[in-house]
Amino acid sequence: MKKITIDPITRLEGHGKIEIFLDDSGSVENVYFQVPELRGFEKFSEGRLAEDMPQITQRICGVCPEAHHMASTKTLDALFHVDPPSPSKKLRELFYSAFYVTDHTTHFYILGGPDFVMGPEAPVAERNILGVIGKVGLELGGAVIKARMQNHHIIHLLGGRAVHPVFGLPGGISKGLKEEERQEVEQIAKDSVEFAKLSLKVFDDIVLKNKEYVEMIVSDAYTHRTYYMGLVDEKNRVNFYDGKVRVVDPSGKEFAKYAPREYLDHVAEHVEPWSYIKFPFLKNVGWRGFTDGKDSGVFRVAPLARLNAADGMATPLAQEAYEKMYATLGGRPVHHTLAMHWARLVELLYAAERLLELSRDPEITSPNIRIIPKATPDEGVGIVEAPRGTLTHHYITDERGVIKKANLIVATVNNAAAVNMSVKKAAMALIKPGKKITEGLLNRIEMAWRPYDLCLACATHTALGQAPMEVIIYNSKGELIERLGH
């Protein structure tokens, strides 16, 4: 039996490794997507002060610290039984919308986009952000950089720091928005809406008008019929900051809808001895292994899952884009993993529109941004939608507010089982006995995990784009027979 090792793939936060086992004929026997890292936040959170958790847990990920900061801050509201004043909730959501604009932009243009803009089998040296800029023009390249920088400015303005913000507190936030800052935010929001519209047009021109790409998107190699999860508002529309978690089954029918505090009734995590990552599944369906369909508890999160789990978008232009996507791909739910790129752009437009709405909210410059909690803390759960999926924090404290137990189900982890399945299915469809394993073919395998945006170190990929990847093929005696650079 041959083994193909893809190690390291480094476009994820930490390290990742793919092992592909081939049988004697050269067909794929099995595939393992391994995560070789663990830091143990759930343990060393014990003994910490609850109010320090937004700043502690965001060190899980410096690429999306805003998501942990916000999930943790909301957990503190629940823990201390305090309802923050309306302006502070709106400012948190404003901050979070700006974060979404930066994060989704990075993924589309720098990580996922190059595969489509340049083509899956384009030369490695071109299949990156520089190639994208070369093809779509410097003007758009400049717009990408501007959108990221401007929205990072909003994060800094409210959060206090550009990376690892500090403003979250139980009962509100530590810093508000002045009128002249609000005007600046409003202008950035207007620019961001235009940028998001332009991004959808780029997707339309480059991807949707290319028959080959559309065929690849809807092909079976990149399709899994799973459950989907996402946060929705009271009208079942997508919401990133607040609401209930809705789960739909593979036919799109509502399977569950729960408040954050009920998460343990719905989600459980499976452990495998070959990876440090755990594999969440729907408790009321059960773990049936790495398989899809209605009888398997495997579910998916992140942009496409959120759109599948909702009835629509809360802003007008994003709603139009949402309808167009489902009309084109044959209705909701869409099971094609590669459509996640499209869904991400629909969300980019929503985030920008929501940012604009909030920047014009009459309450947004109110100084009423904090309430001092008075109740005794005990237990709290907080959920937000991180760009990479549903993010759950759960803390139990003593009466002083010192953490006794913490549990975290991190966004990307929810997709762990599905990522394994996606990579395996793509590998099985693409690697055939006697067929030469080329770099382009390997990239098509990588394209099966790339849409999930695996808590990748987003902005770090701006330089040259391509993940270093090496494939080593061994024969059944464990002797190296071929080494392929990527």
């Binding site: 143990g40 343990k43 206090g160 452990v271 001895p273 040259l464």
Partner: protein
């Protein structure tokens, strides 16, 4: 002049240091003019085997971020030390162990039990734990070994310079990169910042000599906007933390938590912070002092938030 050969690597880290390196924005172009980046796993296509093949000392400068949490990271630290003329600990994890270094209050077994068995969402009746070598139906799979103790880069290999911060602020990063580009490096061992004095020196809040009768937690009071936070009873680490960051946290009405590490000359940041806190207590009565101190419920997480692995304490003894 030949272009500088630069390598960037991450070990046990969050990715925030990479974002911080990119925050220098258009100065990146100046960097690329002066230096060839020959290894940066997150951004360019150079593989481990390529680094292994490089002659010793062929990398001019390596910026290393992240702590040493497992065997793979230790291996990479040692290899990069051999290949690099200068190695710089970039960011708090490489420098002091940082927040993930609080794991040294526990050990591998306790961390594994919490993560893989005890957590209420985990369904693992068979108590399966990740294994360094695991036989599956098709063959064998391996994982790096998770260590009991988080180590800093300096505890693993010899380090030439330090760039502090979680993550380093943009101006600190650029201060160091500019020194590299122009070849005007400070004496070996320097912690590179704009200010070797305390964060207080950067902070616009007014300090008096006011002492406190009570320490408050951040959620308990809304601080006055222009007065020193420590003098308002908030445990602000600015007094025992190296400056150069510009004091962004106190300016967002939140206390400094100490991410730039100890001030010049202090060996143990936590001990320094603790003695500074003791000196602002407004009492000479032992019972009253005890009562005031009893309000500090998490001394390790407060005083050693970023520096436990690098401190005189290092780790907790697990019975």
């Amino acid at each position: 002049m030949a272009k500088l050969k630069l390598a960037l690597y991450w070990a046990a880290s969050c990715g925030g240091c990479e974002i911080a390196q990119l925050q220098i924005g258009d100065k990146l172009l100046k960097l690329v003019e002066a230096a060839d980046i020959i290894f940066w796993p997150v951004a360019i296509d150079v593989k481990y085997k390529d680094v292994e093949a490089m002659p010793d000392k062929s990398i001019d400068v390596c910026l290393f971020n992240g702590a040493i949490r497992n065997s793979e990271q230790e291996h990479m630290a040692k290899m990069l030390r051999n290949k690099s003329k200068v190695i710089i600990a970039y960011g708090s994890c490489a420098y002091e162990g940082c927040i993930p270094g609080l794991a040294n209050l526990f050990n591998r077994q306790l961390i594994f039990e919490r993560a893989y068995v005890e957590t209420p969402s985990t369904d693992n009746k068979g108590k399966v734990f990740p294994q360094t070598n695991c036989k599956v139906a098709e063959g064998e799979l391996t994982l790096p070994e998770f260590f009991d103790t988080v180590k800093t880069l300096r505890q693993t290999v010899e380090v030439d310079y330090v760039i502090p911060g979680c993550p380093p602020e943009e101006k600190t990063t650029w201060l160091a990169l500019e020194a590299l580009i122009t070849g005007k490096l400070p004496p070996k061992g320097t912690v590179i910042t704009h200010n070797a004095k305390a964060v207080c020196d950067d902070c616009p809040r007014k300090r008096d000599v006011k002492k406190v009768k009570k320490f408050y937690r951040t959620f308990e009071i809304i601080p006055e906007p222009e007065v020193c936070l420590l003098e308002q009873g908030l445990l602000c680490a600015g007094i025992a933390t190296r400056g150069g960051c510009g004091a962004p946290c106190p300016q967002a009405n939140m206390p400094c938590t100490g991410c730039y590490g100890p001030v010049e000359g202090a060996i143990d940041q936590g001990a320094h912070f603790l003695s500074a806190v003791a000196s602002v207590i407004d009492s000479n009565d032992p019972d009253e002092i005890q009562k005031i101190i009893n309000d500090i419920h998490d001394p390790v997480g407060t005083f050693y938030r970023y520096s436990l692995p690098d401190s005189l304490l290092g780790r907790a003894r697990i019975k």
